[in-house]
């Protein structure tokens, strides 16, 4: 056997790469070589701590795995000289250590006990950040493909359906339909061909659960699809993935190829006679294609427009054949449930919402990233205990869940348990898992306008109430944020919202008014301030704010004058400056550059 080497593992998910992980990886390789160190350098995907990227882990054989965060070029040099070369961890960059790898070091926090981790329960994300997604060996070493062997070996397609039904797993894409039931409908449908589709068209802006799972654990999706295919009687699978996720697509391609070579995919899977092949279809940038029937139309090469249901895809789906469509996270749960059992899975969560849920925590939050929690913990625990609260001492204002179909929940609702029923009762939806935190500097009318700008442009145009109604909603919000709001606008928004909800065919139209309705319900005074006082309380809406320079504290450094694109700021060096309001376009550049907080935005 090869002598154990010290391992250096660099987090190379999209978040890591965005923070410069590729440079760090190259530097680590070069530095180890220069120093004559025999190391094993590898990459992994996102462990979820996106706020601390670039993440680098070091494992000295026999010792705990140590995670370093915010690793810069200087930091990697030090880590290699000290930790890799002499087994002395570099305290100032350390985040935590994992004792399961070996002997612990003194004075380094334990990974699982960190505030960010100790309330999490990682089922779907158990491999993310721990395996090399490009290595089928790594996946197998963590128990991968055991579930598919068990299911196919058992020979009864209905056996897995029963387990999934008993587990209480509900679709993680947003609708929350029981997965086992969906499979059962399709299993019962009689047809020469059936299909299983993995919905990886994560269109909700502000969500990246599916991207991270595809990038970090692609074999789990393949295995989930295999089990689904065997259970419903499908020999063909499609992964419909957003084109905006190039790394997810390329990792999945490698995984499919490796699974073929190992006979997990192909015309005779594990020599059982079961045939199963997977094709990747890249989406082409249409939010509505997350809707089942629109997604099917898109795979068929058509405009992605939804159709009326029934018939449901389980009866009549892709190319008119019975089809099951499951979300990425749903499928990633499947192998774990098969191996560990329905009871194990349903031991997490609440009575009606079993298991865990992955959330993409972002916005005005100290520790943003990808988290997985048992259903039922509160919003407060997520935002304050896991996320570490709001940066820069600002006050929490709202948390937005469910993306363009969801709503904004207030500080008074922070003790709401996160499960399908409770979040719906509070006036939003769990959705696919986007969770954006907002602080006192966010204008809720602007947020509603932001979402409507999105939905009106993404409406497929089939139903008039959605196509034209969302446009009108957007226009009303636009005029309110411009200080041109009229008496009766709020009532008009509510009436139109109700019409759109009732008369649209698919979920996009039916839920498009939600961001308006929830903000109207919870932040009505902000709308009123915009309309009646022509004032934006959060100082966001440009036409309603003014910029002035506070003479007392202005040092006359001229930074604002240089930054102003319209030369609206005048004044001599070392003397207070002045903004000519006629020339000011309210871009806020002066506010951004002033180091003395001498620009007042009101």
């Amino acid at each position: 056997m090869e002598k154990a080497k010290t391992e250096i593992i660099v987090g190379m998910g999209t978040c890591g790469i965005t923070a410069g992980a590729a440079d760090i990886y190259a530097l680590a390789a070069e530095s180890a070589k220069t120093k004559g160190l025999d190391v094993r350098l590898s990459s992994t995907s996102c462990i979820g701590m996106c706020h601390s990227e670039v993440l680098v882990d070091v494992v000295t054989p026999g010792f705990a795995r140590v995670t370093y965060g915010n690793v810069t070029k200087e930091a990697i040099e030090e880590i290699i000289s000290s930790h890799v070369a002499a087994n002395v961890p570099v305290a100032k960059y350390v985040i935590a250590q994992m004792p399961s790898y070996g002997k612990t070091y003194d004075d380094i926090p334990i990974f699982g006990q960190m505030p960010y981790m100790n309330k999490q329960e990682r089922v779907v994300l158990s491999n993310c950040g721990f395996i090399d997604p490009l290595s089928i060996e790594d996946y197998i070493s963590k128990g991968g493909y055991e579930a598919v062997k068990k299911v196919i070996g058992g020979g009864d397609p209905k056996a897995a359906i029963e387990i999934i039904k008993a587990s209480g797993l509900r679709g993680r894409g947003g609708a929350g339909f029981p997965t086992g039931l969906k499979w059962e409908f399709c299993n019962k449908a009689v047809s020469d061909k059936k299909y299983i589709i993995c919905n990886a068209d994560e269109g909700d802006p502000g969500a990246f659960m599916d991207r991270s799972v595809l990038e970090g654990d692609p074999h789990a999706i393949i295995e989930g699809m295999l089990i689904a295919g065997f259970s419903i009687g499908a020999s063909y699978g499609y992964v419909y993935c957003r084109a905006e996720y190039p790394l997810a697509i390329s990792n999945l391609k490698v995984a499919i190829k490796e699974a073929h070579e190992r006979n997990f995919l192909g015309d005779n899977v594990l020599n059982s006679g079961f045939k199963f092949n997977i094709k990747i279809k890249e989406g082409a940038g249409a939010f509505v294609c997350g809707e089942e029937t629109a997604l099917i139309a898109s795979i068929e090469g058509l405009r992605g427009m939804p159709r009326a249901k029934p018939p449901f895809p389980a009866q009549k789906g892709l190319w008119g054949k019975p089809t099951v469509i499951n979300n990425v996270e749903t499928l990633a749960n499947i192998p774990r449930i098969i191996v560990k059992g329905a009871d194990w899975f349903s031991s997490f969560g609440t009575e009606k919402s079993k298991g865990t849920k992955v959330f993409a925590l972002a916005g005005k939050i100290n520790r943003g990233g990808l988290i997985e929690i048992p259903m039922g913990i509160t919003l407060r625990e997520i935002i304050y205990d896991i996320g570490g609260g709001i940066p820069n001492d600002r006050a929490f204002k709202a948390v937005q869940t469910g993306g363009p179909s969801g709503g904004c929940l207030t500080a008074a609702m922070l003790d709401t348990p996160v499960d399908y029923e409770s979040i719906a009762k509070a006036g939003s939806i769990v959705g696919s898992g986007g969770m954006i935190v907002m602080d006192e500097d966010d204008c809720m009318v602007n947020i509603a306008k932001y979402f409507l700008e999105f939905t009106q442009s993404e409406s497929c145009g089939k139903c008039t109430p959605c196509r034209i109604g969302t446009k009108r909603l957007y226009e009303i919000l636009e005029r309110i944020t411009e200080g041109k709001g009229r008496k009766g606008d709020l009532e008009l928004l509510e009436e139109l919202s109700e019409d759109i909800r009732l008369a649209s065919l698919c979920g996009l139209g039916q839920t498009a008014p939600n961001p308006i309705l929830s903000t109207l319900r919870n932040f009505r005074d902000e709308y009123v301030a915009h309309i009646e006082e022509k004032r934006c309380p959060a100082a966001v809406c440009k036409p309603l704010i003014t910029f002035t320079i506070i003479e007392k504290s202005c040092t006359g450094c001229m930074a604002c004058a240089r930054a102003c694109p319209t030369s609206a700021i005048t004044g001599e060096r070392k003397k207070p400056h002045f903004i000519t309001s006629e020339k000011c376009i309210k871009c806020g550049s002066c506010f951004d550059v002033c180091k003395f907080k001498s620009v007042l935005k009101k």
Partner: protein, 156 residues
Amino acid sequence: MEGLDDILAKYYQSEGSIVSILQDMEVRYGYIPEEAVAWVSEQTGLSASRFYGVATFYGQFHLVKPGKHVVKICRGTACHVKGSEKISDDIQTMLNVGVGQTTPDGNFTVEHVACVGACARAPIFIVDKDVYGKITPQKAKKTLEQYMGGEGNGKG
């Protein structure tokens, strides 16, 4: 049209190929040239309007040739609350073009992208294939200057 035979051959036998054919054209040319659609339409017997209908439905397809560098500002929700609107405004002012437009010298095209899923690193902006996180309007403008009149910054 020369050089399109391979794309056509790849999809001719498979169903649902209009989106795939257009995607391959987009990769090859950076947009969907009218002549290419006319040629494929003639070869397949599918009317050009069907290609046009699909191409205009999806955000990924361009009907005009983009500039040398494509600048994309992420407009996902996290990026929005972290100030991506201002970054977009500043870049538009700096380059003196609107969203979806190309500078007269053909150097830059400015686009919005719905979300690239790097939300915890928001706000994000992308030049060609280089993705920049936690950007400020100043940093965005400085980064863009590196692409002016020359190559990229070498960061992949």
